[in-house]
Symmetry: C2
Subunit: 211 residues, 2 copies
């Protein structure tokens, strides 16, 4: 089954997943659009509009079945189709992601990490082997790598991204803080620009404006 | 001087800063809305509309003065008013931020880090001292702390956030992956939900849709 959903709705779906997981963990079996809206600071009509995109999980006067809705959203996000990922750069940030980020919860299997430091190559971090960066090409040719997580220095980011795309990697999770120069229609780059986030926070604090 | 700018424009301003910094570093002195738009995948009219919000940095037929525009945006973001920040939790992610994130470039001074681990307390990371978490209260009372960066385990996040807000901290940069239960009109929470980012990337990869 294939859905087409607007970008804004896509970006809200993971929040629904988190909230529904919380409800399920608390033993809640059904929830109305009004309740869910109050919990998520959205209007009931916004909730209904969002969830309408992928069909009738809600029933008038009953609400949504928490588990069914969660599974429906997960299916819409394609979380049942596993993606393979590699982390490039096993410095502090790379290690933080390898150790703490729940790739599996996002439907992603972390296959390997890569670095150049002799202190790291050959070691395992939380069960993930760090290979030498020279071995990226052979690894990508032998394994299905959908996503490259870039946690390497900025100066190397563009060259590595270009090489990965040439090798067929279609997804880049970019933590380098620079906008990558990967201009291919087939490639999706998701940027985690932490300075944008901090500057936005700073603006609201300094100005006293509300979001 | 005080500006009121819409949330969407705010979130784009840091991107302008990054692009203008790149241009300035390459020795470029002026740029037209059309050129800037092409570089940032925005239309010229979108650029003019965004930048119009805080006054006439552009001149018809000449373009924007790169440095003046950069400084104007920085002023609009309030980056010249320094904020003080502390990092709570000096695990991998906390250490990654302390070591690599350029707080100063965002107009923020990193004052201290806090943790409970005997291996970390009393040590300095990239010049930032790690104090014991028991000392947070006295530290916040003695120093101007505007922003708390939460890189601690989820199980402790809500209690710490509540305590910080009671102590007068008004900004929270939340890396814990949970939506905090801080319901105060005075507090701004900026969430970095990495799983939302990965799920969004995964959706586009799996579906073949374009953003």
């Amino acid at each position: 089954m294939k859905y087409r959903i607007s970008g804004n709705v896509i970006r809200r779906l993971p929040r629904y997943i988190r909230q529904l997981d919380l409800l399920a963990a608390s033993g809640v079996e059904k929830v109305s659009s009004g309740e869910l809206g109050a919990q998520m600071s959205l209007t009931a009509s916004q909730i209904r509009q969002d969830l309408n995109c992928f069909g009738g999980f809600g029933q008038q006067g009953y609400g949504y079945n928490v588990r069914q809705l969660r599974d429906g959203i997960a299916q819409a996000l394609g979380m049942d189709e596993k993606l393979g990922a590699i982390v490039i750069g096993a410095g502090n940030l790379g290690r933080a992601l390898i150790s703490n980020f729940r790739f599996e919860d996002c439907g992603v299997t972390l296959l390997s990490a890569f670095d150049v430091s002799p202190d790291l190559v050959g070691k395992a971090i939380n069960g993930t082997l760090v290979r030498h960066a020279n071995d990226i090409e052979s690894f990508v040719k032998l394994n299905r790598v959908d996503v490259a997580v870039l946690t390497l220095p900025q100066s190397e980011a563009d060259a590595i991204a270009e090489a990965l795309v040439k090798l067929g990697v279609r997804g880049i999770w970019n933590f380098t803080g620079i906008d990558l120069d990967v201009a291919s229609a087939d490639v999706t780059v998701e940027n985690v620009h932490l300075s944008d986030s901090m500057l936005t926070l700073g603006y609201y604090l300094r100005s006293g404006d509300k979001e």
